[in-house]
């Protein structure tokens, strides 16, 4: 009996291994490079009609999709920019709360497909979409299942440290999406308008002698009962956009994967000579009167508070979005700065 067991267990383990190993071929996705980077993006548009560059590699698409499901808010705003209403969106309420652009989502006719972390496969399938667009860093394991529902494009807005610039990636994504939905013209137009807007703002700021002005960009909200503050870093789209219009980031914390550092009030002491721009909802503003941090004497004695160089941007200024959100942010920032000058 004893000898039998001693043979049993190793055999069982060997059998398991033998059966699992062939599965290796199907399941290992190691491409040998950071998948966040994808194939290198080229500046400008090299638009091959049916070949889309995604985080997973290139993809062939045929036909013109009409029923599109977007699983992260940046893709929703990009679709609206291209003139398309998605049929399904992850977290509609969240989108309405945190993202504001000059194109409205048709909330009457769009279906909420669940949270952005775990969108419901069933809801998506029930919509019978012909294209699904989502973030690769969350959904890469679901890619094969999503493909069974509809052709799926997975992008990432967060390139690695030695990858392309975040702002170039942002433009590339909307260009690729334009390709995918046969709205290449609109995509090019959106990108062109963004550059045009940046040029305009740069001139306005130059005229107001604000070129080279140092700013700190933050977002603040309450979570788990505590105040959370994010300071945007040089590798974020927001900061790179501001650099395009001649402003400089005072916050230096190196490379942050998501484009911001989550940090405490004390960090503001290192940037107090800059102008402080923060995004918060009016009912959740820690810096406004009555807010969680407003009474703090450290906050009150920061130079930018003392000298009135604090500006509040609306809570629905979304810094992790596409060209229209970034244009809005840059314009609001410039407007605020020029009231100071």
């Amino acid at each position: 009996m004893d000898a039998k067991t001693r043979r049993y267990a190793p055999i069982a383990i060997l059998l398991t291994a033998a059966l699992l190993l062939p599965g290796c071929a199907n399941l290992v996705q190691d491409t040998g490079q950071d998948p966040d980077d994808g194939p290198p993006a080229t500046a400008g548009a090299s638009l091959d009609d049916d070949v889309i560059r995604t985080a997973e590699g290139t993809k062939q698409l045929s036909g013109t999709p009409e029923r599109i499901v977007a699983l992260e808010w940046v893709y929703v705003s990009n679709l609206l920019t291209l003139g398309i209403q998605p049929v399904g969106v992850a977290d509609v309420d969240g989108y309405e709360k945190w993202v504001e652009i000059p194109r409205d989502l048709d909330t009457e006719n769009v279906t909420d497909v669940g949270t952005r972390t775990e969108p419901s496969m069933e809801k998506i399938a029930a919509l019978e979409p012909d294209l699904i667009i989502g973030p690769s860093y969350r959904l890469q394991d679901k890619a094969s299942q999503l493909e069974k529902i509809a052709p799926t494009l997975l992008f990432t807005s967060y390139p690695s440290e030695d990858g392309p610039r975040a702002i170039d990636r942002m433009e590339d994504i909307i260009l690729q999406m334009g390709d995918a939905v046969d709205r290449e013209e609109r995509a090019l137009q959106a990108v062109g308008e963004t550059h045009h807007r940046f040029n305009q703002v740069r001139e306005e700021l130059h005229a107001a002698d604000l070129t080279g002005h140092r700013v700190t960009v933050a977002a603040a909200f309450t979570y788990e009962g505590s105040t959370v503050m994010r300071l945007y870093t040089n590798n974020s789209v927001a900061i790179q956009a501001l650099e395009q219009v001649g402003l400089r980031n005072a916050w230096s914390d190196g490379f942050a994967k998501w484009g911001f550092s989550t940090t405490g009030l004390e960090s503001l002491a290192t940037v107090e000579d800059s102008t402080f721009l923060y995004i918060a909802h009016e009912d959740d503003d820690p810096f406004a009167e009555g807010g969680a941090w407003a009474d703090n004497s450290a906050w009150q004695n920061l130079t930018f508070v003392q000298e009135g160089r604090v500006h509040h941007l609306p809570g629905d200024t979304w810094l992790l979005g596409g060209p229209l959100s970034i244009q809005r942010f840059v314009q609001l920032t410039a407007d605020r700065l020029m009231t100071d000058a």
């Binding site: 290796c24 969240g94 496969m121 979570y223 788990e224 405490g264």
Partner: protein, 681 residues
């Protein structure tokens, strides 16, 4: 009564320790105050004190750094005193606010109040206190009290803490605006923006701390034992209740200020006792001082390693440092209470059980019903008839896709996970002779989770298969550690359980560390860490089913041998069974059976405890007879939990691990209640 010379020695020792502690506290505080994102030195602090510093420096020191320092001192001292009291009143050196779930209860209450009634007139301390009382009530209300063995109390505490943490996670998931997965405060962070929190908890901490010290004499008497104390005229019950109330209040004060911090309340009183301080008044004072030192030191270490800009919660450091100490304490116990031969759970006799044949026939029917139910429920309604049609090969393309691809993969993975976890729990309970042993509490599941998470972070774009391999390796490693540490004691049940809990704590802390130093790659793991079938697709489901089946089959001959061992080690040896090898082989299989599900769905708790128990009630204590019933029930439990999680709040999905905790915890409490009279272990 300690003799006068003894107590004088005690006091001398305590005084020496306290003074040393105060000196250390001053030194650590000096370093602590100097840490932070802004460039401030001790010279600046001095200038602030004498009033010659600028307004910004004054603000930074007075309103940011000093509150943080005060928070560390207040929380550290309160937790240490609370731990000391709990250890005395439960006569259990492993007791502490964290291991008895007080911290989890306090934190849950704070989160719930903050989310549902943000404008509530309640100070945070009040909510924390209520939560802590409820949690302590749950742990002790199951009747364990001071009579149960240390292992059982700690396990009850771990289980309740798991359940409460799950509820907290559920609440946060449903209100999540941030998808980067940062839960800093939930990990125990000292960061303060002003004096609000410290201010609200200061008076309760001082008052109840003083009360605790005043009770020192009573606790000395109490420590002599219930009978001795009563004979000296002490109202033992009332003293116990009052003392525990004070302990919970202190722990609630600490949690209200810094969130749940583990191990300070465990470590410090034990270290003070090791240093030779016995009587309570000096012990509590010394513990308070050193508690503050330890927590501040953890915060200093965290910021020294991780930098002052991005927050590293001190609670993670205390957990990583404290868990091995828990293991050490577990191993130092020389006395093993209880008869190792006795079967632990007394179930109904053979006459009270349904006939085995009926049970074995009913199980597959239940499983089929659960599967059909799982395939029926979802966002899009599908009737059982349509499910039947699909299974028979008919039905529309859309329905077939829905049922066979989307739902079937999740149901299949749930079933396989249930089988694996139940089988693993069955083996663990049998080998370790402990009804409360399970993959989750023995660290197998958290270690597997940590290994998988590590794999995802180390190798970008790693395939699902290799995550599975890593997870199983993690499970084996953790079980190996547990076995190695208790081998010399013959794998004594109590020690194994306690070491396992330490491993679980280390793994959980390390996972938290990895998540907190957040990275985009972590986003992929967050869903999986919650214990969710969301990531399952058909290839993964098939592999898991196959691998689980293979391991389960390999376990069959072992089960008979385990039955023989149940007669007693010597008897088994006499019958030709190699006890140690059988146990070792069984444990390896148990690790594999638990590691595989974790690889695919992340950690799922309670199944490994509940399914084997329910099987015992239905089929008796024999492992080989129980096995098919246990795995069937395990599959049913996880399938139903997954179904409920998917269907209850659609399209928002609750992870199956959460649902099993929410459902499993009350049943677990019921089990503990029943086991109360049921013998040692």
């Amino acid at each position: 009564m300690p003799d006068r010379d003894g107590s004088r020695d005690d006091r001398l020792r305590a005084t020496g320790l306290s003074l040393a502690g105060l000196a250390t506290l001053v030194a650590v505080s000096a370093v602590h105050v100097g840490q932070g994102a802004a460039d401030l030195t001790l010279l600046d602090v001095w200038q602030v004190m004498v009033g010659t510093a600028g307004p910004l420096e004054t603000g930074l020191i007075l309103d940011l750094r000093l509150p943080r320092l005060a928070a560390g001192v207040l929380a550290g001292a309160s937790l240490a005193v609370a731990g000391a009291i709990l250890q005395t009143t439960t006569r259990n050196r492993m007791a502490s606010p964290a291991t008895l779930a007080v911290n989890s209860g306090a934190y849950l209450a704070i989160v719930v109040v903050a989310l549902l009634w943000p404008a509530a007139p309640l100070p945070p301390f009040a909510a924390a206190f209520l939560g802590g009382i409820v949690a302590a009530g749950l742990v002790f209300g199951t009747g364990i009290g001071a009579g149960g063995s240390p292992a059982r109390i700690v396990l009850a505490g771990v289980a309740v803490a798991l359940a409460l943490t799950s509820i907290t996670s559920a609440v946060l998931i449903l209100n999540d605006t941030s998808t980067t997965g940062l839960h800093l405060w939930g990990a125990g962070s000292l960061v303060q923006a002003g004096w609000d929190r410290v201010g609200s908890a200061l008076w309760p901490a001082l008052v109840f701390g003083a009360a605790a010290v005043a009770m020192g004499g009573m606790l000395d008497v109490y420590e002599l034992g219930d009978t001795a104390a009563r004979s000296l005229g002490q109202p033992v019950r009332r003293v116990r209740l009052a003392a525990m109330g004070v302990a919970v209040l202190l722990a609630a004060a600490a949690t209200a200020v810094v969130g749940p911090v583990a191990f300070v309340g465990l470590l410090v009183p034990n270290l003070v006792r090791e240093a030779g301080v016995r009587s309570h008044r000096p012990k509590l004072v010394t513990s308070a001082v050193w508690g503050a030192v330890i927590l501040l030191a953890a915060d200093v270490a965290a910021r020294a390693v991780h930098g002052p800009v991005r927050e590293m919660p001190a609670g993670v450091v205390t957990a990583i440092l404290g868990a091995p100490v828990l293991a050490y304490l577990a191993l130092r116990r020389t006395r093993d209470r209880g008869d190792p031969r006795a079967a632990v759970m007394v179930g109904p006799g053979a006459g009270a059980r349904p006939p085995y044949r009926v049970v074995v026939a009913a199980i597959p029917i239940l499983v089929v019903a659960a599967v059909v139910g799982g395939l029926t429920v979802g966002v899009v309604p599908v009737s059982p008839i349509e499910v039947g049609q699909v299974l028979l090969g008919a039905g529309s393309r859309a329905t077939r896709f829905l049922v066979l691809e989307l739902r079937a993969s999740r149901v299949a993975v749930a079933a396989a996970a249930g089988v694996g976890l139940a089988a693993s729990g069955l083996i663990l309970q049998d080998v370790l002779r402990n009804p409360l042993a399970a993959p989750a509490t023995l660290g197998v599941a958290p270690a597997a989770g940590l290994a998988g998470l590590g794999a995802i972070l180390l190798v970008p774009g790693i395939g699902t298969l290799w995550i599975a391999v890593a997870a199983v390796a993690g499970a084996l490693a953790s079980l190996g550690v547990v076995v190695a540490a208790t081998w010399s004691g013959g794998l004594a049940p109590e020690r194994v359980v306690l070491v396992g809990i330490s491993v679980a704590a280390i793994a959980a802390a390390a996972s938290k560390l990895l998540v907190v130093t957040a990275d985009v790659r972590v986003a992929r793991a967050l869903v999986w860490l919650a214990g969710s079938t969301y990531g399952a697709d058909m290839p993964a489901a098939k592999l898991l089913l196959l691998a689980t089946a293979i391991l389960a089959v390999a376990a069959v001959p072992l089960l008979r041998r385990l039955d023989v061992i149940g007669l007693g080690d010597d008897a088994a040896g006499g019958l030709g069974v190699d006890v140690l090898r059988t146990r070792a082989g069984a444990l390896i299989l148990a690790a594999g059976l638990a590691g595989l599900p974790v690889a695919v769905v992340g950690p799922i708790a309670f199944v490994g405890i509940l399914a084997p128990h329910a099987a015992r009630l239905l089929a008796g204590p024999s492992a080989s007879r129980r096995a098919p019933v246990a795995i069937g029930l395990g599959a049913v439990l996880v399938i139903v939990a997954d179904t409920v999680g998917r269907g209850l709040l659609a399209p928002v999905q609750l992870p199956v691990g959460l649902v099993t905790s929410l459902v499993g915890a009350p049943y677990f409490g019921f089990l503990l209640l029943r086991a109360r009279g049921g013998g040692p272990g």
